[in-house]
């Protein structure tokens, strides 16, 4: 079971990990990924726009897909939306499994999707007052393609 969450609020790494592991005693490996808004030179803020009816459904679909590929993996993915400042946490993936290889593989798979295919659009605000919509990156498409080839 891998759950998906879409929210404006920040998330609490330690609380999420404690909740996921819970009373499961067969888990030997827990992997977390936290994505932060990078303070690229002069970046003031990043705003994530999403498609309310579709974005969470797509996140739930990839979570179900990953759970089917790695049946022993428990996990959760969280993505924030709205206006975020540099340094803020923006995306979170947590996976747990008996052994480390599956936990790492599932976390990387989910992150490749979240970074490239999740229905978000990002608008950057710069110190000079300009704004810019981030373009989709070809390099991220390539990382995702490793899994579909």
């Amino acid at each position: 079971m891998i759950s998906a969450h879409l929210q404006a609020e920040p998330f609490d790494l330690a609380a999420e990990q404690a909740a996921l592991v819970g009373s499961h005693t067969d888990l030997g490996a827990v992997v977390s990924f936290t994505g932060l808004v990078r303070a690229d030179d002069g970046l003031i803020a990043l705003t994530l726009e999403h498609y309310p009816a579709m974005t969470l459904a797509q996140m739930q679909a990839i979570a179900a897909d990953a759970a089917a590929r790695w049946p022993g993996v428990l996990g959760r993915i969280i993505h924030r939306h709205g206006r975020l400042l540099p340094g803020a946490p923006i995306v979170f993936v947590l996976t747990a499994s008996p052994h480390r290889a599956d936990a790492f593989a599932a976390a990387e798979y989910l992150m490749d999707w979240l970074k490239t295919k999740a229905p978000f659009w990002k608008r950057e605000e710069w110190a000079d007052g300009s704004t810019r919509w981030v373009e989709a990156k070809a390099s991220d498409d390539t990382a995702k393609d490793r899994w579909t080839a």
């Binding site: 726009e49 009816a53 459904a57 490239t116 229905p119 978000f120 990156k137």
Partner: protein
């Protein structure tokens, strides 16, 4: 009647985040819809000028130019998603 949703710079260039309208006869695919929409205002024309930069979801499922839209309730038009 069909609801059209716009996101990101498509929304900004068209000037609204949603509109509900009746499609004329003969508009049966995503490609037909984009061609017709582009003729509706200078904003629509500008937003849809470069189709390689436009993505579409029909009833919340990613679609292609040849995807039929007959009977669809909600069509979203947006730039390629940039992920998180």
């Amino acid at each position: 009647m069909i609801t059209l949703l716009y996101f990101a710079w498509v929304r900004e260039q068209i000037g609204t985040d949603a509109e509900t309208l009746a499609l004329p006869a003969g508009i049966t695919t995503v490609a037909n819809l984009l061609d017709w929409l582009a003729s509706q205002s200078p904003g629509h024309a500008a937003a849809l000028a470069d189709r390689s930069r436009i993505r579409v979801a029909v009833d919340q499922t990613f679609a292609r130019g040849e995807t039929p839209i007959t009977g669809a309730a909600e069509i979203a038009i947006f730039p390629p998603v940039t992920g998180g």
